[in-house]
């Protein structure tokens, strides 16, 4: 069953067509990668799904519900969470509190509950803390729970962003370049974490990624964007050998050349 159905989504900024009639489907419990050269429209595509941009035309249906016209917070409530390409944590809050903020839509404390410290407030806070503890354990940040998010090392900030996104109880999580700027060990552990997202938490994952070793080894399916248009889609090895994809990344001359072979050798 398809969890997310994007049908001919298009986004035009003035004279620039950033996303051009992209059709994109995400089966439940899969890991899908979206790749493409810089400026291909990947992040714009994510921003359309999450409601930051409203598509110029097209349909986006998630879990049977139309997402067009919803605000980002409403999309989150429907069950789509995301992380950001350039980490956007709440720096002045602790690790634990960042995760608690993620729980906002699932928490039930009202203004009056908070002032009165009534039973609902206490139960809700308790449930939130327990859930946050679980998630911090899941991403391995429990020991750092009382540190300010701004003071965490880079790799841990990325993991915290994932934990915060998980706190919204998503069915689908969109990861925007989760391994950008990481060293090989950190990349490896992030890869492992993404697999665990699906296998242990049952969450569907869509990721934008530049690191082909990550893309080729964890994706069930890969979609390639170039200049806003979908130029290829398929299993990792199919996409890897697609001449159009090689052309998009390396230019026409290299299309038949070395790129596919060397990368392929390493990835396998």
């Amino acid at each position: 069953m398809m969890l997310l159905n994007v049908n001919k989504a298009r986004k035009v900024f003035g004279g620039l067509t950033a996303v051009n009639d992209v059709t994109f489907q995400v089966p439940e419990k899969s890991i899908i990668s979206v790749i493409g050269p810089n400026g291909a429209g990947k992040t714009t595509f994510f921003n359309m799904i999450t409601g930051i941009y409203k598509p110029t035309s097209g349909e986006i249906v998630f879990d049977g519900q139309n997402l067009i016209g919803l605000r980002p917070d409403e999309v989150t409530e429907k069950g789509i969470a995301r992380t950001f390409q350039n980490i956007r944590l709440f720096g002045a809050m602790t690790t634990l509190e960042n995760v608690l903020v993620g729980r906002h839509t699932r928490a039930t404390t009202s203004f009056l509950d908070a002032i009165l410290h009534n039973k609902n407030y206490k139960q809700d806070e308790r449930a939130g803390l327990l859930r946050a503890k679980e998630l911090l354990e899941f991403v391995g940040l429990l020991e750092k729970r009382d540190e300010l998010a701004a003071n965490l090392p880079y790799g841990e900030q990325r993991r915290l962003e994932i934990a915060r996104a998980l706190a919204t109880n998503p069915k689908l999580i969109l990861l925007d370049e989760p391994t950008a700027g990481m060293n090989p060990q950190e990349t490896e552990s992030t890869k492992h974490l993404i697999r665990r997202l699906r296998d242990e938490q049952g969450i569907t994952v869509v990721l934008i990624e530049h690191d082909m070793r990550v893309v080729m080894t964890i994706s069930d399916n890969v979609t390639v964007l170039d200049y806003g248009t979908k130029i290829a889609e398929g299993l990792p090895h199919e996409v890897r050998n697609n001449p159009q994809v090689i052309e998009a990344y390396l230019g026409r001359g290299a299309a038949a050349g070395e790129f596919g072979k060397t990368e392929g050798g390493e990835a396998a």
Partner: protein, 427 residues
């Protein structure tokens, strides 16, 4: 030096010093012939400063309670009976502290720069001045006004509600803009309310225009007259002094309630959403926080505190005019928040105390001293309030950019869970 002393010694010293300063201050105020002395105000202020020491130094809980009781429960009312000037200043500080705490929710917690905050103060103040005085007779027939003074207790929640609604109505169209734009729009809307108050005297005279509204003083029909009138007869303390003390108690309770509310909000889902929004709006929204609604809650909460304090201000002062709610008033309250520390509850109270006492005590005393040397009146420091605020704010920005008492968030902790649950998996 103080920090090095053992906890018990430090606490004892603080309590002893509070007692000594209290006694000296009280005796000095009692001596009618020393009222003119230049040392009374500094001693009274040093006595009050012990409150700050009790909260900012590490001392025992007992010492804190003793200092608070000595200063707030015994010292200030007793000194106030002897010389109501000091009590008047303390009451004003409390009113502005509560208001600054409200503005702190908007600016400090939620990060929305509001330059028109005095408008909500005006809403509350006019509400009581119009109906608690005889002004309402101009547009409601039947000579029903002034209302019974005790209805002020009903008007506090009414003003709370009305100001929150006005805050939400003003906020709704403007909260989609951010930062500087929001500041400018709130400044404009704040002026709109003041100009409205200035001009709503015709065709129907609702606000009495620029002449302002007066609540005629009437002991028989003042709030809690059934307590204050017999009490003042029994103790031989003049009625208005007794009434001021009653207001002091009342407003102190309101300040405590406001502190409690803002602390609780800060440590809840709503407070965390405010801080998250202040840190990064895009990320906050992506985490499911509805921005406009969350901002509106902050705006309305801040407005409601100002509304409630407006009622009490009108009741205490007995006269209000549009000029009490001009842009300078808004910046004055903002200065308290920035001076004390954005987002810091103790800081904001300290900020209010500094700004008001500077205004009403320190500058006045300095100018009195300067008169000794026959300084020309144009050098009188009371004329340079705005300049002095400006200098203080600039100095603060350079020396302590986070305020006198920088905000320390009390973050949520897993330790809040019961130990059994915590033990599971936590090393």
């Amino acid at each position: 030096m103080i920090e090095k002393l053992p906890l018990a010694t430090r606490s004892t010293l603080l309590m002893a010093s509070t007692l000594v300063f209290g006694l000296v201050a009280y005796l000095m105020v009692l001596q009618k012939n020393t009222i003119e002395s230049y040392f009374v105000t500094p001693v009274v202020m040093l006595f009050a400063l012990h409150l700050f020491f009790a909260t900012s130094w590490k001392v025992t809980r007992v010492a804190q309670i003793v200092v608070f009781v000595l200063v707030l429960v015994l010292g200030i009312p007793l000194i106030g009976f002897a010389n109501s000037l000091y009590l008047q200043v303390v009451v004003t500080i409390c009113i502005f502290a509560a208001m600054a705490l409200g503005l702190n929710v908007v600016v400090g917690f939620a990060g929305l720069l509001d330059l028109g905050y005095a408008a909500f103060f005006a809403v509350g103040a006019y509400l009581w001045a119009i109906f608690g005085g005889s002004q309402a007779n101009n547009f409601i027939s039947g000579n029903l006004f002034p209302l019974n003074g005790n209805l002020v207790f009903l008007f506090i929640p009414i003003a709370l509600f009305v100001a929150a609604v006005v805050g939400a109505l003003l906020g709704l169209p403007v909260l989609k803009v951010k930062g500087d734009y929001l500041a400018i729009i709130t400044l404009g809307l704040g002026e709109v309310i003041r100009v409205l108050a200035n001009n709503l005297n015709k065709p129907i005279n609702i606000t009495n225009g620029s002449q302002g509204v007066r609540i005629a003083p009437n002991p028989e029909n003042s709030p809690l007259a059934f307590i204050t009138v017999p009490l003042s007869q029994a103790t031989n303390i003049p009625f208005f002094q007794m009434q001021l003390t009653m207001y002091y108690v009342l407003i102190l309770l309101v300040v405590i309630a406001v502190i409690l509310f803002t602390t609780r909000l800060d440590n809840s889902r709503i407070g965390r959403a405010w801080v998250a929004m202040r840190e990064d709006e895009v990320a906050a929204q992506a985490m499911g926080i509805p921005l406009v609604r969350t901002k509106l809650i902050a705006f309305a909460t801040g407005a409601s505190f100002a509304g409630a304090m407006g009622v009490l201000y009108a009741a205490v002062i007995g006269f209000i005019s549009p000029n009490d709610f001009n842009f300078e008033r808004s910046t004055q309250i903002l200065a308290m928040v920035v001076l004390g520390g954005l987002g810091s509850i103790p800081g904001v109270i300290v900020g209010a105390a500094i700004v008001i006492s500077l205004n009403q005590l320190v500058l006045v005393e300095i100018s009195r001293v300067l008169q000794l040397i026959n300084l020309p009146p144009r050098f009188d420091p009371t004329q340079y309030q705005q300049l002095i605020y400006g200098l203080i704010l600039i100095a603060m920005m350079i020396l302590r950019p986070k305020g006198l008492v920088p905000a320390v968030r009390q973050p949520a902790k897993l330790e809040n869970l019961e130990h059994g649950e915590l033990a599971k998996g936590v090393k």
